[in-house]
């Protein structure tokens, strides 16, 4: 290395950055195109694809596509539905999964090993393979509403929330994390006479910041971004439809690409903003799924 002259080193550094930038462009160009196009009228949007103007906010720039998109579909309702389903599922799911993992790691009870094995075995069942029978199950489940018992869960929020409350991955991540917590702390608290519930929320939860962030991020991405097939099957009414399914509105009859781009931008930007602010936590959460147990 000592033989390399400073000029050469500068050149090498330069090449490295050129490579990094070129790769970055590959990942950025569709996203830049999406955002930029959402401000252009359809005729210009199509014409601009023939040059690098496609990636520049030039020409007849306006918010018209956004106004039109809002007129075309109840976007506010869709956003509310998605956010509401995501927030409720994520918070309840974290509570239930962490309690179960807590019990598996710190308590000793008959059947513990068997139950944990069964839960982890479901990791290899892809949701897509049970979607159809699950549809049959939820269409016949009872629900105790205000007017007594009703049958069938179709076209509700609960059908989008309750089946997603527990997943093996979240339980697994909590179990892995709890295993590394010092057991002496828990035993000491028990000696002092703390109940198990107190141990859970006074001692274990305050130590669980990183895993709570990880679980919340992974689950939120799943609930907000990937809820497509399931709501397509179980939600037919507008009042409960999430954003990803709402896209269908923009593909009836003629496709107005400007409005499509506006809608895509609208539903993606909130996640992107979260990501840019919390990128360390996002990347750490993905990395933690790679730590083999």
């Amino acid at each position: 290395m000592a033989l390399i002259s400073p000029q050469n080193r500068g050149l090498r550094l330069g090449t490295r950055y050129v490579v990094l930038v070129l790769v970055a462009l590959v990942f950025l160009f569709p996203l830049v195109f999406m955002v930029v196009s959402s401000f252009k009228p359809d005729s210009q949007l199509l014409a601009d694809t023939s040059s690098f103007r496609a990636f520049l906010p030039v020409g007849d720039i306006s918010l018209d596509n956004y106004f039109d998109a809002f007129r075309r579909a109840p976007i506010g309702q869709f956003m509310f539905n998605s956010v509401m389903v995501t927030v409720v599922t994520v918070s309840v799911s974290i509570l239930i999964c962490s309690l179960a993992a807590f019990s598996f790691v710190f308590l000793e009870w008959t059947g513990r090993g068997l139950l944990l094995t069964i839960i982890l075995a479901t990791l290899i069942i892809p949701f897509e393979t049970i979607a159809v029978p699950l549809l049959l199950v939820v269409s016949r489940l009872p629900w105790l509403g205000l007017d007594g018992i009703e049958w069938g869960w179709l076209n509700t929020y609960r059908v989008q929330i309750i089946p997603w409350l527990v997943d093996a991955l979240t339980v697994f991540l909590f179990v892995q994390y709890f295993k590394d917590l010092p057991r002496e702390l828990i035993e000491a608290a028990r000696v002092e006479g703390a109940s198990w519930l107190q141990v859970y929320y006074r001692i274990v939860m305050p130590l669980s910041g990183p895993i709570l962030a990880t679980a919340a991020i992974l689950k939120s991405l799943k609930m907000y971004n990937e809820q497509y097939l399931w709501p397509l099957m179980v939600v037919q009414d507008e009042a409960h439809r999430p954003v990803m399914v709402g896209l269908g509105y923009f593909f009836q009859l003629d496709v107005a690409w400007g409005q499509v781009m506006a809608y895509l931008t609208l539903i993606s930007v909130p996640v992107l903003v979260f990501y840019l602010f919390l990128q360390r936590a996002f990347i750490a959460s993905i990395a933690s799924t790679g730590v083999k147990g």
Binding site: M34, N225, I286
Partner: protein
């Protein structure tokens, strides 16, 4: 080692039960229902009671045969040829609809090849299912090296100590946080055929006008490949992060030793980096394979299985039958086949990565 402090059946069960009960109702129960439905003629809504039909759903799905067609000959015994000189064969229909061969009843041609003067024709009871099966396999086989290998290259690229490297990591990871539905729609525009498509136009400009426009997802030759590329583009950042986590577990002292030994870059990778990444490699491989067998959203948004079933996949077929056509039993049978494939892959992985003593 049960101690009085940590032993409690009541507390243990009551903490774990809510989670287990939900999992049992919404994952385990439908899973077994799926197995059961695949042995019946269950439909979503039907006036007739459901009947047990044994393996007939599987038979009508997996039925496969090979027939040999001899060329048509004229009165002199010479092989008939069409205007382009290609040999003429009797139609497959004459075999599959003939009363002479009841075993081929209802089968259709899947593909054929020529063997001497004869044509070997593979016929299947359910050609669409066969295409879905092979497309899914093909998708998995192509995307594993593309996405897994691409992710490793990105991880090595991003693992350098350079100013501003975090900004690049942020950008490479960005598509991961965007919904695959959004990505698929966006790429549907990018892949548009003719001179309206963004990709066609970009390639046209970059190749200084040499590139001829392609109808990327409207053409049977390029449709599946286009979806593979897009899927890898979206997911590669995810596995880059997993590789990075693996790279960071390799002790720096090993690299120092390598530097002292004066190894080349390739040798360093081959003998230091790669052995340290073995576990990560298995994980990446398995995760991508599993995901690729669940391929649905991209297909539903971009091609609906077309053109000419060239992008049919198992999950898309399972949903189309079980939900679209309300044929729950047929959809369930596909799901069971899919599950068995995933299960065998994961068992194979267990076997390959078992602790060797």
């Amino acid at each position: 080692m049960a101690s009085k402090l940590t032993r409690s059946n009541l507390a243990g069960w009551s903490f774990a039960l809510p989670g287990f009960a939900l999992l049992a109702i919404f994952i385990i129960l439908p899973f077994f229902f799926g197995f059961w439905f695949s042995l019946t003629n269950q439909r979503l809504i039907s006036p007739n009671p459901t009947e047990f039909v044994g393996l007939s759903n599987y038979e009508s799905m997996l039925g496969l045969s090979v027939i040999t067609l001899e060329p048509e000959r004229d009165d002199d015994g010479l092989i008939k040829r069409d205007d382009d000189g290609a040999i003429e064969y009797p139609r497959v229909r004459t075999v599959t609809r003939s009363a002479e061969y009841p075993q081929y009843q209802g089968m259709r041609e899947w593909f054929r090849w020529q063997w001497g003067d004869d044509a070997i024709v593979v016929i299947a009871k359910d050609v669409v299912f066969m295409k879905a099966l092979t497309n899914t396999m093909l998708f998995a086989i192509c995307i594993v090296p593309l996405q897994g290998g691409g992710a490793l290259l990105l991880a090595l690229l991003i693992n350098q100590k350079l100013k501003g490297i975090n900004a690049f990591r942020t950008i490479y990871f960005m598509p991961v946080v965007i919904s695959i539905i959004v990505i698929s729609l966006l790429w549907r525009f990018i892949y548009k055929g003719g001179d309206e498509g963004l990709l066609n136009n970009m390639l046209h400009v970059l190749s200084l006008g040499l590139f001829q426009p392609v109808d990327w997802i409207g053409n049977t030759h390029t449709a599946l490949g286009s979806i593979i590329f897009m899927s890898a583009w979206q997911g590669v950042g995810f596995h880059m992060v997993i590789w990075l986590a693996g790279l960071q577990t390799i002790p720096p002292t090993l690299y120092e030793v390598a530097a002292i030994e004066g190894t080349t870059r390739w040798q360093t990778f081959r003998y230091v980096t790669w052995p340290g990444l073995k576990n990560t490699a298995v994980l990446v491989l398995i995760v991508i394979t599993m995901q690729s067998f669940a391929l649905f959203s991209q297909i539903d948004v971009m091609t609906k299985g077309g053109p000419l079933d060239s992008t049919q996949t198992l999950v898309f077929q399972a949903v189309q039958r079980g939900y679209g056509k309300q044929d729950i039993s047929g959809g369930s049978a596909i799901s069971v086949v899919l599950f068995l494939i995933v299960l065998s892959i994961s068992l194979l992985q267990r076997y390959l990565t078992r602790e060797r003593k």
